[in-house]
C-alpha cells in the first residue's frame, strides 16, 4: 500500500465528500469536511504570516474541541509539528514544554495566557501567541482568525510538502529525570500507523469514532486521523463527560458511536457504575483498548453488556505508537483468570526479545520487547543521550526501541505482558515515572527523603503512595503537600496517599528499600 507522504493529506482525501460531518462535539456542534479544510487553511496562512516555517514547532493549549482539530491540521499544513499539552496541567509544566522544544508560536485559550506568559518569560522564550477567547465548535478559532485578518491580511499560501521523516508532532511524557520528555514522531510514523489501522479495522465512511483520550495522549492519533482518512465522523468527548460513567454511557448510546477507543480504566468504570443496561448500544461494533492491562473480570462483564462488539487489545508505548495487537476470541471466557496477551507485532514492524545483556532470548523465555520499523520514533527532543539509551542496536545497524516491558511468547505465538523493568507505571492509561514524582517532592524545603511506590488498587488500577521523612517535623498537612505537587505535576501524577517516617528504610547497601515500603501497603 502506498503511504500518504504527509499526515494532513488525509484530510484532503475527504474533499470528495465536503458535506460529510468530520468532527462533532458533545453539545452537538459540528464541522463538515469542507469547512474543516477551509478553517485549517486559514490557520496555515496565519501561522506562515506570523513567521512559522516548515520544520518549526507550534504549541497547542486548548480544550479538546473542533478548534483544536482545525488547529492541528493548520499547523501540519504550515509544515510545522504540533505540540499539544494537557489543558489541565500546571502552567509550570506546560511552559517548560513550550520552551523546551522552542515553539515558534502557540495557539492557546486566553484564560491560560497570563500564567503561560509568566513561565515563558522566566524561561527566556518568546513565541508568537494566537489567543482564542475559548474553544468550542471552531467558533473561537474562526473569531481569532477574523480579528487578525481584519488587522493585517494573511496571504494564502500552499500547504507544505514535508518529507516523510519530518516531524509531525511531539508528545511529552513523564520523564524519570524529573522533567517531561518530548517524543518526536514523523509524518511517516503516523501515516504508517494509520494505514495499519485501515487494513486491520477496515472502517466505513458512515462510522462514528469516539475521541475519548486527550490530544496530548498518543491514543488521539488514531482518534483524529483514522476517521478523517475514511471520511467518517470523529465525536469529541470532553474531559468531564469522559470520566462520568453514567453520563458517558448515555452519551455513547445517544451519539450512536460505532467505534470506541480508550484506556481500560474508563471501560472498567462504565461496567461498574455506568448502568449500561439502561441503554441501547446496537450501533457500537468495535471496542479498542490500550495503555494498561484490562482486568479480566471487568473486561468479561463489559463483553456481556456489549456482546455484539469486536474487541482488540492494542499495545505500544508513545515511542512506537501501537506495535502489537490482539483480537479477542469471539467466545467470552468467563473462567479465564489471566489478562489477554498483547498479541502479535503489527505487520510492518519487527519485534525482538532480549535479555539484560542484549542477547536474543529463546522462544518462550522472558525478556524485554524491542521494536523496529516505520512506527518507531526518531528520538527525544533535545536529548541525544536519552535517545541513545532508548535504542538497542543490532550488529546489522538496525535500531530497535527498547519498550521497557517484559514479555514472553505464549504457546499460540502471542506475546504475554509480564511487567516493567523500570519504575514507570500506568495510571488511567497515562505514563507515570515514579522518579518524576520523587524529583518534585525533593523540591519541597521540608522534605528530607522521599520514596514513591505504586500499589495495586481495584478502582484506580494503581495507587501511588509517597513515603516521606521530613526535616524537623513528624508529619505535615496532606492538603499542603497536594497543593505543592499540583504546582509542578499534572493531577494524575499527584500521589494518592502519603505516609510519614522518621527515616526511610534502607537496604544493606544503603539504598532506599522500596520492597519494604511496598510491603507496608
Amino acid at each position: 500500500m502506498a503511504a500518504d507522504s504527509a499526515l494532513h493529506d488525509l484530510l484532503e482525501r475527504s474533499a470528495a465528500r465536503p458535506e460529510q460531518v468530520a468532527v462533532e462535539e458533545a453539545d452537538g456542534s459540528r464541522i463538515s469536511c469542507g469547512e474543516l479544510v477551509r478553517l485549517s487553511n486559514r490557520v496555515r496562512d496565519r501561522l506562515r504570516a506570523v513567521g512559522v516555517h516548515p520544520g518549526d514547532r507550534v504549541g497547542l493549549w486548548l480544550r479538546k474541541s473542533i478548534d483544536t482539530v482545525a488547529a492541528i491540521f493548520g499547523i501540519l499544513k504550515a509544515g510545522a509539528a504540533y505540540v499539544p499539552v494537557d489543558p489541565t496541567a500546571p502552567p509550570a509544566r506546560n511552559g517548560y514544554i513550550f520552551a523546551n522544544c522552542a515553539v515558534r508560536a502557540a495557539i492557546i485559550e486566553h484564560r491560560f495566557a497570563a500564567a503561560l506568559a509568566g513561565e515563558l518569560q522566566q524561561a527566556g522564550h518568546q513565541p508568537r501567541l494566537l489567543l482564542l477567547d475559548g474553544a468550542g465548535g471552531g467558533r473561537s478559532l474562526a473569531r481569532c482568525l477574523d480579528d487578525l485578518q481584519a488587522a493585517s491580511p494573511a496571504p494564502e499560501v500552499p500547504s507544505a510538502r514535508p518529507a516523510a521523516e519530518d516531524l509531525a508532532y511531539i508528545l511529552y511524557t513523564s520523564g524519570s529525570t524529573g522533567r517531561p520528555k518530548g517524543v518526536m514522531l514523523s509524518h511517516r510514523n503516523a501515516t504508517s500507523f494509520v494505514d495499519w489501522c485501515s487494513t486491520t479495522f477496515a472502517p466505513a465512511a458512515n462510522e462514528r469514532f469516539s475521541a475519548h483520550a486527550p490530544f496530548h495522549f498518543d491514543l488521539s492519533v488514531l482518534d483524529i486521523f483514522l476517521p478523517i482518512k475514511h471520511g467518517a465522523t470523529l465525536v469529541l468527548i470532553g474531559e468531564e463527560l469522559g470520566k462520568d460513567p453514567v453520563q458517558l454511557a448515555r452519551f455513547i448510546a445517544e451519539a450512536r458511536i460505532t467505534s470506541w477507543y480508550s484506556a481500560p480504566s474508563i471501560l472498567s468504570l462504565l461496567v461498574q457504575r455506568g448502568r449500561l443496561q439502561d441503554h441501547d448500544f446496537e450501533p457500537l461494533r468495535r471496542v479498542l483498548f490500550a495503555g494498561e492491562v484490562f482486568p479480566i473480570g471487568h473486561l468479561n462483564r463489559l463483553r456481556h453488556a456489549w456482546p455484539h462488539c469486536a474487541y482488540y487489545n492494542l499495545y505500544g508505548p508513545t515511542e512506537t505508537n501501537v506495535c502489537t495487537f490482539f483480537a479477542l476470541p469471539a467466545q467470552i471466557e468467563d473462567d479465564r483468570l489471566d489478562p489477554y496477551p498483547i498479541g502479535r507485532v503489527c505487520a510492518q514492524l519487527t519485534g525482538l526479545v532480549i535479555d539484560e545483556q542484549g542477547r536474543t532470548v529463546a522462544a518462550g523465555a522472558d525478556g524485554e520487547l524491542c521494536i523496529a520499523g516505520p512506527h518507531v520514533m526518531q528520538g527525544y527532543w533535545g536529548q541525544p543521550e536519552q535517545t541513545e539509551r532508548a535504542f538497542h542496536v543490532t550488529p546489522d545497524g538496525r535500531r530497535w526501541y527498547k519498550t521497557g516491558d517484559i514479555v514472553a511468547l505464549d504457546g499460540q505465538g502471542d506475546f504475554a505482558y509480564l511487567g516493567r523493568r523500570d519504575r514507570m507505571i500506568k495510571k488511567r492509561g497515562y505514563r507515570v515515572e515514579l522518579d518524576e514524582i520523587e524529583a518534585c517532592l525533593y523540591r519541597h524545603a521540608a522534605i528530607h527523603e522521599a520514596a514513591v511506590v505504586a500499589l495495586p488498587h481495584d478502582e484506580l488500577g494503581q495507587l501511588v503512595k509517597a513515603h516521606l521523612a521530613l526535616r524537623g517535623a513528624d508529619r505535615m498537612s496532606i492538603i499542603q503537600l497536594k497543593r505543592f505537587c499540583a504546582e509542578h505535576l499534572p493531577t494524575y501524577m499527584i500521589p494518592d496517599q502519603f505516609a510519614f517516617h522518621a527515616a526511610l528504610p534502607k537496604t544493606s547497601t544503603g539504598k532506599t528499600d522500596y520492597q519494604q515500603l511496598k510491603q507496608l501497603g
Binding site: R475, S477, I479, K482
Partner: protein
Amino acid sequence: MTASNETAAIVKQFILAEFLPGEDPAELTPSTPLITTGILDSIATLKLVAFLEETFGISIAAHEADVEHLNTLADIAHLVDSKRGG
C-alpha cells in the same frame, strides 16, 4: 450560621472524614482547591456527588460535576444552596 456556612461545614466534615483522615481541619478552608490538587480524584468526586444528592435532596447534572462547580468548599456550598432555593 448562614445556609451557605452550614452547608460548607457539613461538606467539610464529609471530605475530612472520607478523603483526608488525620488532616488538621484548619488546613481545609473554603478556598482550598480540591479537584486540581487531586484531593478529589474522579472516583472521590462521584462519591461526593452521591453524598450531596442524598444529604441535601438535590440532583447534580454531569456538567455540574466539574472543576468549575466543585473545586472548593465555597463552590460546592454555592452549588448546593442554589439548588435548595438559596
